[in-house]
């Protein structure tokens, strides 16, 4: 029973002996190869097939066996390979060796067929093997697939025209499409070329995969060099494909150590390939791009994070001396220390500043006496001789001197200026806000002038320059300018609005509470700006009017004109600009609060009877706005109305009354009741007020009964209005605004 197995062991031992024989003397190859083919053929045991396949791979790769002999051996071997492949063979090792053998055989058979057109059978077998390999490549296990990559490379190399080194001696030319005669009986040049072009695409396709397999990429990169070198016609295509390939883009995000190894290996292999090309041909027309690619690879993020920690530093002690280049120079002399004398006394000048010697003879020497070219001749070689550290010491010395001088001069200048500037400040009194712009400008101008003056060395100093004051503006002019400024801001608002903004919305969503009023220059930022311009900027200035009378009334129109414009602006498209309205009303309300608070403080301070009057704008403008667009609301605008009512800072009686008035229109009864119900549910401070209003509505408008009745039964079941007796239950007597305004 054990006989066959022992047989196999014996056979393998015999085969190994045969292999030793041919390794010792290549002359035995033909004999041995033909002898073993039947033993290791398709129907034999796995061990023997493995041995045979690997032996064939070795044979046809061997540089010791002459090409002519390999060519002779090829037909028999081809037949065996075909038979084994068609088993179908499934053992990885056998397949691997067979594909390797086929890759080695392909150019041999090709050349053989070129020279022997009558031998169509060999070519047919070779083609069958090729088709089989290419067809099954994608299903092969990885090691075999790698060998297939190499096989494809071989086929492409053979079926692409190469260089004809010597037309007179065809046997010396490299095997390529170029050695095929045009009228060859078996080989059709266009077909072969088309096939190879397709295969090249398949080969380079590995660089376009979403997720790169480092093995396939490296295997491909490492076999491309011969193609680029010997096949001019496809070299550019290959190089371009490599240049488009960035390993870091082809890996999945979780960076395991394995992916790091893979990415690094692909980067380094791509680099090695390009360097190989550049070394062969430094004047390659793609050299620039290749250099850039190599540099970009070097800077790649992974490399940076990965290697920074692992690169070894200098050896911390001299090593045992095996590598001399790594020894640091320890005996270099420390540079001499330059002796810097203090700067010569007296007013600072450039020659004093730069004089670093104490030798009076040298420092009094006038270099201008020498012709300039002579000076150049002396200075340039001299500079190259100067020790680095000496030069930097000297420069440092001059720099410190210069800094002390400028510091002193600045101090002096500031003192002078302080005395001069005090006059300037006194005779300027801002009367109202817009003038500030001008004053800032003039202040800035003087500051700039002062700065410029500071920069001037003492020797050429000019007197301080102050821009002349602009002619005073009349109040009308000032108002006009103010309005035009406001108009410009509105211009920005509309401009920002028309610009497409899908991304804007997103970014704003993200900002959330971290948002600042004017941080983004979009529509909202501008509307906040406008609202503040209307509410904050002139606040306080308007409160003086009591004393000044009509003249100032006109000025208040600046704030009010902004409000008026905002109001109109919003009403133009109240559905789209509702958020501006809300921003604005919030600002108004906040401003009102602040005003009242400061007024209260003032009163405490002054302890006088005179009640400060605070002009409150929120109520006025909230009702105006509501009045403005209520007329245009239709029954489906519930969202608009609810949004407005829920986001304005305060609900007042006038507002609820306006809402109640909607019930006049039978179509909008529901709108009215629903929005009130929303307020009842979600705005507790306004709940009572709204319930009163609903009661009111319930009693006044017949059509509202069904809807309003429901609300009342839920929220105020005890309401008298619900009782069938429809008297004029005075809703107004109960109606007590919860939020009271002064």
């Amino acid at each position: 029973m054990a006989q066959p197995m022992d047989n196999v062991v014996d056979q393998v031992a015999q085969l190994n002996a045969a292999r030793s024989l041919v390794l010792g003397d290549a002359a035995f190859y033909p004999q041995i190869v033909n002898g073993i083919l039947p033993i290791v053929g398709a129907s034999t045991r796995l061990e023997l097939r493995r041995w045979g396949a690997s032996f064939l791979a070795e044979t046809f790769a061997s540089p010791m066996l002459a090409v002519a002999q390999k060519e002779q051996l090829a037909p028999n071997v081809l037949q065996t390979i075909r038979e084994i492949l068609e088993l179908p063979e499934t053992d990885t090792a056998v397949l691997q060796s067979l594909v390797q053998t086929s890759a080695s055989l392909y150019p041999l058979v090709f050349r053989h067929v070129v020279n022997h057109p009558q031998d169509g059978k060999s070519w047919e077998t070779m083609s069958a093997i090729k088709q089989d390999i290419l067809r099954r490549m994608d299903t092969f296990p990885c090691p075999v697939k790698l060998c297939c990559v190499k096989f494809i490379q071989r086929v492409v190399q053979v079926q692409t025209p190469g260089l004809i080194s010597d037309p007179r001696r065809p046997e010396q030319n490299e095997t390529s499409l170029a050695v095929v005669p045009r009228n060859h009986a078996v080989l059709s040049i266009p077909n072969l070329e088309a096939e190879s072009s397709g295969l090249l695409d398949r080969l380079l396709g590995v660089f376009q995969e979403e997720i790169s397999d480092a093995l396939l990429v490296n295997a491909t990169l490492n076999c491309l060099a011969p193609l680029i070198r010997t096949r001019q016609s496809i070299a550019n295509k290959i190089i371009n494909a490599v240049l488009e390939f960035y390993p870091t883009k082809h890996v999945r995000p979780p960076f395991t150590p394995t992916t790091r190894v893979s990415v690094k290996s692909m980067e380094r292999t791509a680099r090695a390939l390009l360097i190989n090309i550049l070394k062969k041909n430094p004047n390659h027309h793609l050299a620039g791009r290749m250099q850039m690619y190599i540099e970009r690879l070097m800077q790649s993020r992974l490399e940076a994070t990965d290697d920074a920690s692992r690169k070894r530093g200098l050896p911390n002690e001299p090593t045992d001396g095996l590598d001399n280049a790594k020894r640091a120079r320890l005996n270099a002399l420390p540079p001499p220390i330059l002796k810097i004398p203090p700067m010569a006394p007296g007013p600072a000048s450039f020659d004093r500043l730069f004089t670093l010697t104490e030798d009076t003879g040298l420092s009094s020497f006038d270099v201008k006496q020498l012709p300039i070219d002579l000076v150049l001749k002396i200075v340039v070689p001299l500079l190259s001789q100067v020790h680095d550290s000496t030069l930097s010491q000297a420069v440092d010395a001059v720099r410190t001197r210069y800094q002390t001088i400028t510091k002193d001069q600045n101090l002096q200048r500031q003192q002078q200026q302080r005395t001069a500037a005090q006059d300037d400040d006194d005779d300027y009194e801002p009367e109202y806000q817009p003038m500030d712009v001008a004053s800032v400008v003039s202040e800035e101008a003087s500051a700039v002038a002062a700065e410029v003056a500071d920069l001037q060395p003492e020797l050429v100093s000019l007197g301080p320059f102050v821009l002349p004051q602009p002619p005073p503006l009349s109040e009308e002019e000032a108002g006009e300018i103010g309005r035009s400024a406001v108009a410009r801001v509105f211009g920005m608002l509309t401009a920002a609005e028309t610009s497409p903004a899908p991304a804007k919305g997103q970014s704003q969503q993200k900002l959330g509470f971290a948002r600042l009023a004017g941080s983004t220059f979009d529509r909202d930022a501008w509307s906040v700006l406008l609202a503040r311009l209307a509410t904050r900027a002139p606040a306080g200035l308007e409160n003086d009017p009591q004393t000044k009378g009509d003249a100032v009334r006109k000025q208040t129109t600046i704030a009010d004109s902004i409000r008026e414009t905002l109001y109109r602006f919003i009403l133009e498209d109240f559905r789209g600009r509702l958020n501006i309205a809300i921003i604005w009303l919030n600002e108004e309300w906040y401003n009102d609060r602040i005003q009242m608070k400061s007024a209260a403080n003032q009163r405490d301070d002054t302890e006088e009877d005179s009640e400060p009057i605070v002009a409150l704008n929120y109520d006025t403008w909230a009702t105006r706005l509501l009045d403005g667009f209520l007329a245009y609301l239709d029954s489906r605008d519930i969202k608009v109305l609810v949004r407005f009512l829920s986001e304005v800072p305060e609900i007042t009686l006038p507002i609820t009354q306006r809402v109640a008035s909607l019930a006049k229109d039978p179509e909008r009864v529901n709108l009215c009741v629903q929005s009130l119900m929303y307020l009842i549910m979600f705005r507790p401070p306004a709940r009572e007020m709204c319930l009163n209003t609903v009661e009111d509505v319930y009693q006044t408008y017949e059509e509202s009964r069904p809807a309003a009745g429901k609300v009342l039964t839920k929220w105020r079941p005890q309401s008298t209005a619900l009782e069938p007796a429809t008297n004029d239950a005075p809703a107004s007597s109960e109606a007590k605004p919860i939020t009271s305004e002064s």
Binding site: M5, L46, M64, L146, T258, S265, L273, P315, L322
Partner: protein, 289 residues
């Protein structure tokens, strides 16, 4: 006609051992039982066929003296006794001399370690004994005849004479090809990858090229050599596993990692190895002989 390796095997083997109790449906068990089946079926033959499978290694440094030879020693002297050859990528063999400017320079391929040893011990035995050069050369001459230059190596040329000369690690490398090249310095790795491209990839034989960055001194060479042996053992383990799994039975039954080939495991093995040797920066690619 369908061919089934398992059928052949079971048909010709000695009586099967009592089959393992109803096989648990895990691939692990399938694999091990398959391997067990082979081994019990033909104790001598299978052991020879599977365990004798070894990866062939090649170590490379600048002068083929210190780091590559230390690794050569480790690999060939290991229990596994890996087939190994070694090379240098420099233009000349450079050994430290009495001063920085006077290195001892020899040419590759034509000078033996023994010659160098004799010459240096004749020049100044105390110096070269003291800096370890003589010890190193003595070790090297026990391993092989002399330094070889990588760029002069023609892959595929039989190395039977090295076997007859008694070079350590020569058994298994008669064919003149290797599966794994390990360099000891990045510029050597660059030189090797570049040179393989120049050689034209004529053999269509895949080779994994690793770099393990080792400082060029005796201590580091020793640590580095051990680390290289560790890497080699792991790689070989994976290769043997592939050979076995794909060998007779079990390939069809294996799934997932069990079916993963040696080549596919290489990046993982290296990443894993690198975690354990963070001070020896590694690099890898798959090239062609």
């Amino acid at each position: 006609m369908a061919y089934d390796p398992r059928r052949t095997n079971s048909g010709t083997s000695t009586p099967q051992p009592p089959p393992p109790p109803p096989p648990p449906p895990s691939t692990q068990a399938d694999m091990s039982s398959a391997a067990q089946a082979i081994e019990t079926a033909n104790p001598a033959g299978a052991a020879a066929a599977t365990d004798s499978y070894k990866l062939k290694f090649c170590t490379v440094c600048a002068s083929n003296n210190n780091r590559s030879m230390e690794a050569h020693l480790q690999l060939s002297g290991a229990p596994a006794a890996f087939p190994v050859i070694s090379f240098g990528t420099g233009s000349l063999v450079r050994l430290p001399g009495p001063s920085i400017t006077q290195p001892n320079v020899y040419s590759f391929n034509t000078t033996s370690y023994n010659q160098m040893y004799e010459e240096l011990s004749g020049k100044d035995e105390r110096l070269y004994r003291g800096n370890g050069i003589l010890n190193m050369l003595d070790r090297n001459r026990q391993l092989k005849w002399g330094p070889e230059r990588f760029q002069d190596w023609v892959p595929g040329v039989p190395r039977v004479d090295h076997l007859s000369k008694g070079d350590k690690g020569a058994i298994g490398t008669e064919g003149g090809v290797v599966d794994v090249i390990i360099t000891c310095e990045e510029r050597c790795w660059d030189a090797v990858v570049d040179d393989l491209m120049n050689k034209g990839t004529a053999l269509n034989y895949p080779v994994h090229v690793f770099n393990v960055d080792i400082k060029d001194n005796h201590e580091e060479a020793l640590t580095g050599g051990k680390a290289i042996l560790d890497l080699a053992n792991r790689l070989n383990e994976a290769a043997v596993a592939q050979h076995r799994v794909h060998g007779s039975e079990g390939w069809e039954n294996g799934t997932g990692p069990a079916r993963q080939s040696f080549d596919e495991k290489v990046p993982e093995i290296l990443a894993d190895w690198q975690e354990r040797y963070p001070n020896l920066p590694a690099l890898w690619t798959l090239a062609w002989l």
